[in-house]
Symmetry: C2
Subunit: 565 residues, 2 copies
């Protein structure tokens, strides 16, 4: 099937005078998880990031280190698999003419991937869509969130953007990332499988001009409630006409998500100023309402997790699979009507699968959960209203001492992050050191960041803040971050302990508070390695869970939960 | 009936060679609310504090200022009603011989009430009980609270007492207050209508001696679980024998609750040292577990209150009475199985009844709630596990402007207390000033303290801390206090806004957090009198309630609650 599609694609090269065609993972909204997955349609690769180049004779699939094994499994019969950070496309593909869809690339990305010996030809219609297109998604309209939920009116947010424009002496801002449109207008949509993203773009002018660029089929609700007037509503196909009617000289775009297509149109009438969309920073600082709703979402999520952990620790003799486990967790989440859908694809890996950082168990590859293996489960939910992300590593029999010791060192790092004195260590790169220091003493480490920013009822991954070796964004009150140190031994086991944290301030003192409420595997802890502060942390952490849920659990669950304190 | 009882009592005077007999409100455990109410049995007076003296010809009923009106209503046909702080018994009753029950008086109290011209005769058997005795209370055994609930083992608490004894060079401590026995042993009982008090006393020795003095019928559960060994268990009647068998020289008693009877027995073998029982202070500082459970109890209570407030604001056209209102509130509380019983008698007063600080509506005196009157409702519950106390003042039609203004000033005081910078103002007497300052600007005030300490699943009133003009106890992390400024216009209306607070500490910064979650009457607020900080406080306060309960309310309730934010 893939072979056939590649053949049809190659037949089109002549018409466009190209030697090859580039297919990225992202869709035209540069979302983390796109519904129309053209890369999968042409390569069979299902990872969350990658780039295919189909040439007349050879095909290349560029993926990052997380996905090389998976790409081999899924695509090696038709593609040469290249690890992208070791070999960029420009080091392999030279002196030819490549076609690309200008809606799917930013100028920036093209420059990074290809050098000047490649001639790039912009082709307006997507060639993969002409061969195979995912079923059109059922139209579900955008909807508004009330001020009780968002804590700030869209008018107030728009005013902030107008100040930003005036500060930078610009006439317009092009908000090309739908997650940022969602934040500004306090709207959400159904255009992403794991995030309530409303696929749309927005233009805000310094004189209060406002244009929402979206599929009109999606907008009747927000028009009805007068959030957007009809004349502020522009269809995707009318973008060029809109721009040509605007008056002014300077236009700010963000080259992370402004497509080549849009940039060209804007550039034909305006001087382009490249700047990070200010919404990224603004929305990273959650207000009181957003935090309250996030706390609430985590209370709902934590109950499902607690019941799940009890269940899996007690059912395990029945030989369930990874997929059984993730389905059961989903069932527990669905018990509350405020649960909507997963905030990302669950990673449920037993034993050696736990060592694959982005492992995804499917019906075809799922493995039985061995009683003697440890089991890593990373999952999250989108709730009315909030987004969760949590990892627990569990065991079902007496674990080996060295695994307990490593788990305990990961836990010590996790606790050190949670107890960070943010008045002293106020950047992700400083905090990251503390997360790793206990493992490092033994020469151990993990090959991912310690934490990412998290959206409010939006993407589970968002910036600009993170806990990682290179992030020097100041951690501020209202930010939400994950705290997820780990350790992975290839072909053996994986350990990760992940909570979400939010930054609280009281009398000028800044500190983290846990959002996540889910028991931490006591059977994997070597208490001799913990000091009194760490023991007290765990005592309070589990007591919080107990007081929150004891009345909502059955007798057996409650008894077990009490035993953890 | 009362007349007859008095007659029978007087007939007994000859046998004991007395001219009169003193009947206090308290029982032999000096509890705030006793089940065997001898004062009521001989005088018909039902208030919570008072003292009757029956002489051969005259009868006196001494009550404090709160109860003079009530005492007149209930007892004036047989008693002269005397306001005790204006006229102490010794200023009225002179040169005679009075009998008293040594189990019901402390040496201290007798000294305060009577001067040396009165001869006091201790009579071991209670004369009122011989005439009329309340039905014996059904025996319900003491029960233990687990460490998850109390946060500290009884062994650890006993050790603290042993340190206290060594510090004061004493051999024994007599813990005569059952609330303090409850705290030390982590037990509770059923011996008080509004508090899970286990009627008992305790002796702890510096060498780990431990004796529980209690009715053996109540103790089988705690003996079975080996909290108390059989040989540590002493019946009330064996107290003298116990004391005579103890070795040592110095015995600490607390003259707030050590009866004349017990003091005499101890004094016959030991040197008596009068000291405040250290448990009062120890138990005022709630630990992490106790606070967590109190937070939980308030979450349960707040849902009932929120539903009640919605109900009464919307049902009021149907002309309900004060008693209907308090019964309905009780019904809402009973909807959660963790609710046990009221933590004190509900005060539900409409209009002028709201001005009676300790008003109690009963079937006989209850008044219809007038739509145009404001309605004061002060109530609380005992929960598994925690104690609540909350007052809200509500209106049902557009209130008069001057009432709104006064309510708003009371509210400003209430908010000022909640936002106290405890690093600066760390005593009740300093905080009390802030609670009153807005009323004082208009020459207004209220004749009660601003806040009392609150027990953990124990008495709703406990010391030693309070927010009042004279209290200079340092406010410490873990203390729980009420915050209840008010204003009362006699024969017109009463206003009180009461939340419970606990003291939290983060990075050396000490501050109050609200425990109580119940909407504050927006219709009584004049927003023009509030500054931005106060408005923000109310916004956050109501948002907390909304996120906590929105999923547990019906649509109408939810919509109303959202409208408060």
């Amino acid at each position: 099937m893939i072979k056939k599609r590649i053949k049809i694609l190659r037949e089109k090269f002549k018409n466009f005078h190209i030697d090859g065609y580039i297919i990225p993972k992202n869709d035209e909204f540069f979302s983390e998880y796109a519904k129309n997955d053209r890369l999968k349609n042409i390569s069979n690769f299902t990872g969350s990031a990658g780039l295919a180049i189909i040439l007349k004779k050879n095909n290349y699939l560029f993926v990052d280190g997380r996905y090389t094994i998976q790409a081999h499994n899924e695509s090696v019969s038709n593609f040469k698999i290249i690890e992208i950070h070791k070999n960029m496309p420009h080091s392999i593909i030279k002196n030819c003419t490549l076609g690309f869809d200008p809606h799917l690339f930013t100028t920036d990305k093209l420059k990074r991937y290809f050098s000047s010996d490649i001639k790039l030809v912009s082709i307006g219609e997507n060639l993969i869509d002409k061969i195979y297109k995912n079923k059109p998604i059922k139209v579900k309209p955008f909807f508004s969130l009330s001020k009780i939920i968002t804590g700030e009116s869209h008018q107030s947010k728009i005013k902030k953007i107008m100040h930003f424009l005036k500060l930078h002496n610009a006439d317009f801002l092009f908000i090309s990332a739908p997650q940022n449109v969602a934040w500004i207008l306090n709207i959400r949509g159904h255009d992403n499988p794991t995030s309530p993203i409303p696929n749309s773009r927005l233009i805000i002018g310094k004189n209060k001009e406002l244009f929402l660029i979206a599929d009109k089929k999606n907008t009747h609700k927000i028009v009805k409630e007068r959030k957007i007037k009809k004349n502020q509503l522009i269809d995707f196909c009318d973008f060029k006409e809109l721009i040509s009617g605007l008056k002014g000289s300077r236009f700010i775009i963000d080259n992370q998500s402004c497509s080549v297509f849009a940039e060209k149109i804007i550039n034909s009438r305006f001087k382009i100023i490249n700047k990070e969309d200010p919404v990224y920073k603004l929305k990273s600082i959650k207000n009181y309402s957003e935090i309250k709703h996030m706390i609430n979402a985590h209370k709902i999520d934590g109950l499902a997790l607690t019941k799940f952990i009890y269940w899996i620790k007690n059912i395990n003799n029945k030989n369930i699979t990874e997929v059984d486990a993730q389905n059961k967790l989903e069932k527990f989440r669905k018990m509350d009507s405020r649960y909507l859908f997963p905030s990302f694809n669950t990673i449920a890996g037993s034993g050696s699968n736990g060592a694959i950082v982005h492992y995804r168990a499917t019906k075809l590859n799922t493995k039985k959960i061995n009683k003697d293996d440890i089991f890593l489960c990373d999952s999250g939910g989108q709730y009315k209203y909030g987004t969760t992300d949590v990892t627990r590593t569990l065991c079902f029999s007496k674990p080996k001492q060295y695994i307990k010791d490593i788990f305990t060192k990961v836990l010590k790092g996790h606790i050190a992050v949670a107890l960070t004195n943010l008045n002293k260590n106020n950047t992700g790169k400083k905090i990251d050191v503390h997360a790793r220091k206990f493992l490092k003493k033994d020469g151990l480490d993990y090959a991912h960041g310690t934490g990412h920013g998290v959206g409010f009822f939006l993407n589970v991954h968002e910036g600009p803040q993170s806990i990682s070796k290179y992030n020097s964004i100041k951690i501020e009150k209202g930010m939400i971050l994950s705290n997820e140190p780990g350790f992975y031994k290839k072909n053996h086991f994986g350990i990760r302990i992940e909570n979400l944290l939010y930054v609280k301030q009281k009398n000028n003192s800044l500190y983290f508070e846990n959002l996540t409420l889910a028991p931490i595997e006591k059977d994997l802890i070597n208490y001799n390695l913990l000091n009194e502060i760490e023991k007290d942390y765990l005592f309070k952490y589990h007591l919080n869970i107990y007081t929150e849920y004891s009345n909502l659990l059955n007798k057996k669950e409650r008894k077990w939960l009490a035993s953890l304190i």
